[in-house]
Symmetry: C2
Subunit: 410 residues, 2 copies
Amino acid sequence: MKTDLDGLMQAQNVDALLVSGPAKHNPAMVYMTGGANLTMGHVIKKRGEPAVLFFAPMERDEAARTGMVSRNYMTYPQFRAALQGDLDQHAAMLQAMLKDAGVTGGRLPFYGDVNAFRHYGIVARLLKLMPDLRVADSAEDDVILNAMSTKDEGEVARIRRMGQITTEVVRATADLLMSSRVKDEVLYQADGEPLTIGAVKRQIDVWLMERGAENPEGTIFAIGRDAGVPHSTGTESDVLRLGQTIVFDIFPCEAGGGYFHDFTRTWCLGHAPDEVVKLYEDVKTVNETLVAELEVGKPFFHYQKRTCELFEEMGHATVMSNPGTEDGYVHSLGHGVGLKVHELPMCSYQPNGGQTNVLTPGQVIAIEPGLYYPERGMGVRLENTYYITPDGKFENLAPYPMDLVLPVKR
Amino acid sequence: MKTDLDGLMQAQNVDALLVSGPAKHNPAMVYMTGGANLTMGHVIKKRGEPAVLFFAPMERDEAARTGMVSRNYMTYPQFRAALQGDLDQHAAMLQAMLKDAGVTGGRLPFYGDVNAFRHYGIVARLLKLMPDLRVADSAEDDVILNAMSTKDEGEVARIRRMGQITTEVVRATADLLMSSRVKDEVLYQADGEPLTIGAVKRQIDVWLMERGAENPEGTIFAIGRDAGVPHSTGTESDVLRLGQTIVFDIFPCEAGGGYFHDFTRTWCLGHAPDEVVKLYEDVKTVNETLVAELEVGKPFFHYQKRTCELFEEMGHATVMSNPGTEDGYVHSLGHGVGLKVHELPMCSYQPNGGQTNVLTPGQVIAIEPGLYYPERGMGVRLENTYYITPDGKFENLAPYPMDLVLPVKR
């Protein structure tokens, strides 16, 4: 939680933070500003002090809305030259900004989505100007990511709202498919054209936007062989055909950039072949078994191992026995969800991944077991997002049926 | 143009490029991959050689779609440790990837939207591993940005299509305002609630998405005092009131991240006060004068100076006479438009900004003079995006009326 920041900084001996970049779709900046509408900015937080926001003159109103202590870039004579790419002036401006925030040295992590082109040169110059400054960049030094791993009530409410929007859009998508006309095992649109993956995805985009959500990282809506490759987002021109697995993985965030939700269902239109039903039952069984076993205080990694064991008992290859496998269980069980669609806790991290990867009240985690057989043209994944309540319960933030077969009009 | 890359690399003595990050909303990666659907990736291009794409195993299909020479990260034993934040292993993997792309030293710029947290540490370690490697990061070394500054026919067609969508949405917005019910100088929605800035902006989001566009950097729809602050995006709860300036600056890109368009109109609902009409006429006159004067071969900066001169003759303060002014002409005249909403050429760069900031066939530029008087509650900006044709003409890519007053229902 954000209120943990000073404590985490103290524990890691981190003296200050420096966040840069725009405030949209830039999680560290959104976290520190509460979601300002800034095309550029810096936040410097000295341990034990309120964070200071640095802003461009034309964005003074947006900066003021944050309620943060703030300073206009125009107070720095280096600003214009820095904007035009002068790295010496840029480093000198950062030094002056740090000084104004009370920072003259110590261990400091850099944050933000930045342009790689100049970043190394700027930091290298800053380190020359400030011999007492050290870059803190070990995994344990990532105090913002660690703070983000548990959520306060307001954050959970926002993720829950995204979950509600997600399931509304999933239901609308199911209704669209179930109400489409079928001819020769293929779905058709009202205009007589076959319904394609591309057409469904464009409709999903609009339904999300109508509800105040967007999908900056896309949506996976993949059929047949594509469904057998976890990150295949689907082929735009593929038609929707009965009896093939459709993996529908939807991970929208608040419009303008904010909290995410993560959710997956696997569908077969009209009917499902026996081998698909078997695959679905295996994934559903593991999903339900795992969720029932989840316990606060256990490393998330424990459940990744457990998932591999369960799938191997069922006869599937997994990344435990065969790290490079493309058949069977080929990814990890889950991840934290928040301002990033993938954040802490991570279940792929070994137990030495630290305390942050232990299941803890306040975390929001996606659980997404899946099985993939691309050469047999099928894949199944079932995913829900859970909030770990203060009393250690795992609450599904967006309940929705897990049915495999969607009946169609005959 | 992309075909200029090798020549630009040669001219700058740049031996190779390294681009990293996701392929969505990451201009350098979109440019080098042609818009792949990758959540992570690297592109390394040695001068004179085709670019090589490095991809995650689950994204092999998306990588294959690019048609690029490509390599799976799984071929590097350091991959898993690097993913989990081990900076030594990350640097060792980059060294191996560079070697596989034929790069063992030389001058190399880094590209891509990256996470600042680890970037410095990774590059510092890589430089230790590869003593013959130098980071190229002067403005002139930015060969990708320089290549992007002129567009081929396909790129211009995509920007033109975004312009068409933009004007469709602007027209729909005007229709919404003009057809709203008016009571006591305020616009009302069909449900009896006042029409707010927030409601209009949400409708704009949906209209864009329905047409295959999105606005990752937001939309400026600001009224009254907000219109007097160039980057104020507007206050969600403000109602739409007759006779106040509305600055409507819309800069959408292709859905999923791609080419942008940039466009601004200023409207007054029902009627315009005399002082607003005067301000509007001044901006319109400068806009038309400037556009008629634009000539290939002149530095873009020349026209920024010229705009300041014209506005000062009209009695307005400008950034030329008073760099910190918040009244009058407070920003720059324009910028290139492409995969970034602001890219080269830049008119704020002094003549020493180099050849790329000289107006050249193939460039696409936004021209956006404006005048702002926040304390008098008004601002006016008029912006169009122009393509500089091979024969040196300046073609407005999305013509649309510049009228100030939108008539409303009485």
